[in-house]
Symmetry: C2
Subunit: 189 residues, 2 copies
């Protein structure tokens, strides 16, 4: 395999996670997504749900903790996330979805950095199918998620989230279709 590690950054609702799982299944390698959350939760002592939310979307954190240590719980999580992602990458070929793995493994040779995005319409359709209707419109939920994820990424990496130059390949899954995205990526591995 030419690329040992494939990191998939994705817009919420773009199907990046599904692409990651199908790609991993096709290549016969593990895909770390939910498992990654689990490991970070175990290593950090925080609950899984807290890690899911705080480890990609939240900034700021507890003022109380910060006042004493100068670090927020997000900073602690970031450190654990860094360590867990590096350890997984050392174990062998794999797909890693989210968690700024593209940045954490930026010096790793043989790492293919992928970004998956899609137009608002197909993402809105997808999240309604997947997570159901809520009181907020799907577009509002997506805009909110995008904003938080971009802010989190920029804060910890000093890089603008979703800029083509940071990735080896970026794909619009709405226009190209999930299956074709998997085909293209499998062809690079």
């Amino acid at each position: 395999m030419e690329h040992r590690i494939i990191t998939i950054s994705r817009e919420f609702g773009s199907g990046g996670r599904t692409i990651g799982r199908e790609l991993a299944a096709r290549l016969g390698i593990p895909c770390y997504d939910a498992e990654l959350l689990e490991q970070i939760a175990q290593a950090s002592g925080y609950a899984r749900e807290f890690v899911a939310e705080q480890g990609e979307y939240a900034l700021g954190g507890s003022w109380f903790g910060q006042a004493f240590t100068g670090r927020t719980c997000q900073d602690d999580l970031w450190a654990v996330q860094n360590r867990v992602v590096r350890e997984l990458a050392q174990k062998g070929p794999c797909v890693i979805v989210g968690r700024c793995a593209d940045y954490i493994l930026r010096e790793e040779p043989g790492c293919l950095r992928v970004f998956i995005h899609a137009d608002m319409e197909s993402r809105a359709r997808r999240i309604v199918e997947k997570y159901g209707e809520r009181s907020d419109s799907p577009e509002k939920r997506l805009r909110d998620r995008d904003k938080r994820r971009a802010a989190y990424y920029q804060f910890y990496t000093d890089i603008k989230w979703g800029e083509a130059r940071n990735y080896h390949i970026t794909l619009n899954s709405g226009a190209l279709g999930l299956e074709r995205c998997v085909d293209i990526l499998a062809g690079l591995c």
Copy 2:
């Protein structure tokens, strides 16, 4: 062919033009690049070299002309460029390199929007091979071109140049190689 028109936006020195030509040759369709310059020059009455420089890199233009008409020569060129790109797209399947064609044809169904970029090192090597050494370092020349092209694009389109979301696919030609970029794109056409 699924995509009638392929627009290739590219960083200077990334080989985007070569990818466009090879892709067009493989698909047996025309590639508009130098020809496009020629047509814009003819339609606008400006010299070819002036069009090459002003039609993608320059902002501002003559204060004298602007004071009388409120328009710069770049604004005139932009209008001609718009018309010529649309006319070419109407003629039949083709590859169009640069000239903000991705933006001009954004409503066109069957248009595949591509962005090609590469790391500074491979671009520097490429422009020295292609255009030779100059008194400025290749890195300085590249940074200058990037800055101008981004400013031009943003001014006329209100969109940030090189943002993944504006394209169906973006490829790092330095990491993936030109030939492989052509293969991937041909697979989408």
